[in-house]
């Protein structure tokens, strides 16, 4: 038994060390290639092969030789652009370009002041720490099962796994930072889209790529810099993964279950990020200046200046009024829906009568029709009732369209409560009404709150009916009110999202509170009993 464990542990440790050594080897191989244009010669009004062309070519080749003799990796390329002049003669514009290609391994980044070099240092430190922790934790305990390990050895083995994980994660971060430095930021600087920091980054890159020899020429050289990252960087990631596997195997014994666990967290994190993404966009855009919302180049992960002023600005644009309208519509609709819904749900849950099924069918049917199909009829109805363009009309419609859900949820709650207590209360002399309000309703409170909040949120978020029925600006609920910030030719995104943010936060918090009750109520509420 012990020998077997020892053998397995040695195998896993070997895996980790192999990963480490191979990673170091890979890191010393050329991985990044940079291509910069160091010389261009243009020759116009020529044809390929004529005297003028030869002359320019010779000139270019001279420069090429000069670079080659100094040991640079350079190549010459020519680009021919044909055009016809006003006399009908075809001439060419020939451009000779000498570009220099440099390949760098990861270690050459180490001494540089780039941000990615710090990441590289973390990567190296983690690799070495992982190996050291592993060896220290394995010493004298290599024959022990994971669950009988002394505490310190357990910690050391875990630490080894964590360090490998960090090393693994530094690889994409490193790649991202390099891409950012060498393509995006150079692009922004050389196109004069950004000024700050240019005098810091350019000398750094000059020193890194050309040993400082580019000098003042660096601006034109970097303007056409392109770079390529070899697939070996991702090989490095696989090697780190190998290290991680070794560490996991030693710490927990089974790789499969740990991997599945990791996959689960990975999946959840990805799904959560995607879900949160629009909310993140809403938040940061709401707090940006107008110029920043309409310009891609200056944006970073966060606003360059947090403009809480936006939240104050929208107060003067009618948003408090819209919020009040929404509150009135949603609040009124909720109260009305509850006042009508509770007795109905009670009758459905506690009484027997002919046509019960018919009524169930009736309310389920009414739930089927979103107001859109009925919009024309509804607007006609509102006109005849003189409720067109009024908050009261919206309130009534919302209450009616939420009846089904309210009864649905309430009935489920009532059914799940045993009627014995009410019967006892009735024997003691309570009326039906009394037994309901004094006994049933307090017991059903969680379910009622759920239904209440759900109706409130539905009415709060309603958009379609309001956009048709409400034409006066001061009667708009918030969902319609925010659309005033996105007119046809100009969209004030920061105000749009600032108002959206305010409209979203309260309902989201309410929703999270009832989420658990709601789902079980929705799927089973109507069909229980």
């Amino acid at each position: 038994m012990e020998r077997e464990i020892k053998k397995q542990n040695r195998l896993a440790a070997g895996l980790l060390l192999l990963g480490l050594v191979l990673a170091l080897v890979v890191m010393s191989l050329p991985m990044y290639s940079f291509q910069a244009v160091v010389y261009t010669k243009k020759s116009s009004n020529t044809t390929v092969g004529d005297e003028k062309y030869q002359e320019a070519l010779a000139q270019a080749q001279e420069v090429l030789e000069e670079y080659t003799s100094q040991g640079f990796q350079v190549e010459l390329s020519e680009d021919v652009l044909e055009r016809t002049n006003s006399k009908g003669e075809t001439t060419s514009l020939v451009t000779f370009t000498i570009s220099e290609t440099q390949t760098k391994n990861l270690f050459s980044f180490l001494g540089q002041p780039f941000a990615s070099a710090h990441v590289l240092r973390i990567m190296l430190a983690c690799m070495i720490l992982a190996a050291l922790c592993m060896l220290a934790g394995l010493a004298k305990t290599s024959g022990t099962l994971p669950k009988y390990l002394p505490k310190r050895a357990k910690m050391l083995r875990s630490a080894s796994g964590w360090f490998s994980l960090i090393a693994l994660l530094t690889v994409p971060v490193f790649a991202m930072m390099n891409t950012y430095t060498f393509s995006r930021r150079i692009y922004l600087y050389s196109n004069d889209l950004m000024q700050e920091g240019k005098d810091v980054l350019y000398p750094q890159i000059d020193r890194f790529l050309f040993g400082g020899s580019a000098g003042d020429n660096i601006d034109s050289v970097l303007g056409k810099l392109s770079f390529d990252c070899s697939w070996m960087l991702w090989l490095l990631m696989i090697l780190f993964f190998l290290m991680l596997l070794g560490a996991i195997q030693i710490r927990f014994g089974t790789v499969k279950s740990t991997l599945l666990r990791g996959l689960l967290y990975f999946f959840i994190i990805i799904v959560c990020i995607v879900t949160l993404y629009p909310y993140y966009v809403m938040l940061i855009t709401a707090l940006r200046s107008n110029a920043e919302t309409l310009d891609m180049y200056f944006l970073h992960i966060f606003p360059s200046e947090w403009k809480f002023q936006n939240l104050i600005d929208i107060i003067n644009r009618g948003v408090p009024r819209y919020l009040l309208n929404s509150l009135m519509v949603a609040g009124g609709a909720t109260i009305l829906a509850m006042l009508c819904g509770i007795p109905a749900a009670y009758a459905m849950a506690r009484m027997n009568f002919a046509g019960k099924k018919l009524f169930l069918g009736f309310i389920i049917m009414s739930q089927m029709f979103s107001p859109v199909v009925l919009l024309i009829g509804l607007s006609q109805l509102m006109t005849t009732m003189h409720l067109n363009d009024s908050v009261l009309g919206l309130m009534l419609i919302n209450a009616a369209f939420n009846q089904a859900f309210a009864i649905w949820l309430l009935r489920g709650t009532f059914v799940s409560i045993s009627p014995e207590m009410e019967q006892a209360a009735m024997i003691d002399g309570c009326s039906t009404m009394g037994s309901m309000t004094r006994v049933l309703l307090p017991m059903a409170a969680p379910g009622i709150v759920t239904a209440l909040i759900f109706v409130f949120i539905n009415a709060w978020n309603e958009y379609t009916i309001s956009t048709v029925l409400i034409s006066t600006s001061s009667n708009r609920p918030i969902t319609v009110g925010i659309t005033q910030f996105s007119s046809f030719n100009m969209i004030e995104w920061e105000y749009l999202f600032a108002a959206s943010l305010i409209a979203t936060i309260p309902v989201v918090i309410l929703f999270i509170c009832i989420e658990k009750h709601l789902t079980s109520g929705l799927t089973s509420g109507g069909v229980k009993g």
């Binding site: 959840i268 879900t275 027997n352 309310i363 029709f369 929703f511």
Partner: protein, 294 residues
């Protein structure tokens, strides 16, 4: 003779009365109105004329955009309901596992359900803008793409984005319905299945699926109805442009009646939509009633 008014016999109906009245006035009566209007002549200013048979229906079907719109509606409903059911189911399966931070994950994943569709659609509208959208911005800064991508270069792609947003906002509903079903599954069933040597797929097929089928059915049918009726996403993102090519039936009939002032064909389309919904509702009720009887 009303002297024999039986209190206990009439009480239940009295309790139901407010609810019935509310639904009758604001749901049933508009349905009748729409039906009536669909068989009448309606002028551009909305004045209702005399009975004109099926003329409105003929006009509606002969509208140049009718075919595209119906096809779009079909694609929209199938794509959104289908994909969100599959993805929602997978997420529910994962959320049903025990892990650290499950409560937080649940709270995060429910967010799209609680947010107004207009707001969701506006945010996505901003995200995929070509010139300054956040998606291009993030991808550029991360170095994933080297040049800004036009995410909405053609109406087909725009329609796909709209479907994507539709799926995004529909997933939580499916997830949480299925989750409610999954949590009612007795663990002993799984233990028994494992004892019998069942693998992952066989457990899924023989234990999980039959147990969550009721909640999956409820969520799917309700989703068909909601997605069919969904208006704000398409209206906010493209308004059906260009030339009704990204319209579904609901947005189309809205534009038809409130922008183009063609109330006649619009009411006819409403009735057609209503009938389609009736069929869905009928299937749904059949399912519910059958379950009730069990």
């Amino acid at each position: 003779m009303y002297t024999s008014f039986n209190r206990s016999k009439w009480t239940p109906y009295l309790w139901l009365l407010p609810s019935i009245a509310l639904i009758a006035i604001f749901v049933i009566y508009p349905i009748i109105l729409v039906f009536k209007l669909s068989f009448s002549e309606i002028s551009k200013s909305g004045v209702v004329g005399k009975f004109n048979g099926f003329q409105n229906y003929i006009d509606a079907v002969n509208l140049p955009a009718f075919k595209t719109v119906m096809l779009n509606t079909l694609i929209w409903v199938i794509a959104v309901v289908g994909l969100s059911t599959v993805i929602g189911f997978i997420i529910a399966m994962v959320l049903n596992q025990k892990f650290h931070g499950r409560k937080i994950a649940r709270s995060i994943l429910v967010l799209p359900w609680a947010t107004s569709l207009v707001i969701q659609a506006s945010v996505w509208n901003y995200i995929i803008k070509y010139e300054y959208g956040n998606l291009n911005d993030i991808l550029l800064n991360l170095g994933v793409i080297k040049q800004a991508v036009n995410w909405r270069s053609s109406f087909q792609i725009e329609f796909i984005w709209e479907c994507g947003v539709g799926i995004f906002v529909t997933i939580p509903f499916v997830t949480f319905c299925v989750l409610a079903g999954l949590q009612s599954v007795d663990d002993s069933l799984y233990e028994a299945a494992i004892m019998d040597g069942a693998g992952f797929w066989s457990k899924l097929k023989n234990v999980t699926l039959p147990m969550v089928r009721p909640s999956l059915t409820v969520s799917t049918v309700l989703n068909i109805i909601y997605v069919f009726n969904s208006f704000p996403i398409i209206y906010t993102m493209t308004k059906g442009a260009p030339a009704n090519k990204t319209d579904t039936m609901i947005t189309f009939l809205y534009m038809l009646s409130f922008y183009d002032r063609k109330k006649g064909p619009a009411t006819a389309l409403s009735v057609i939509g209503f009938l389609i919904l009736c069929i869905c509702a009928g299937i749904y009720m059949f399912g519910v009633m059958r379950k009730e009887e069990k």
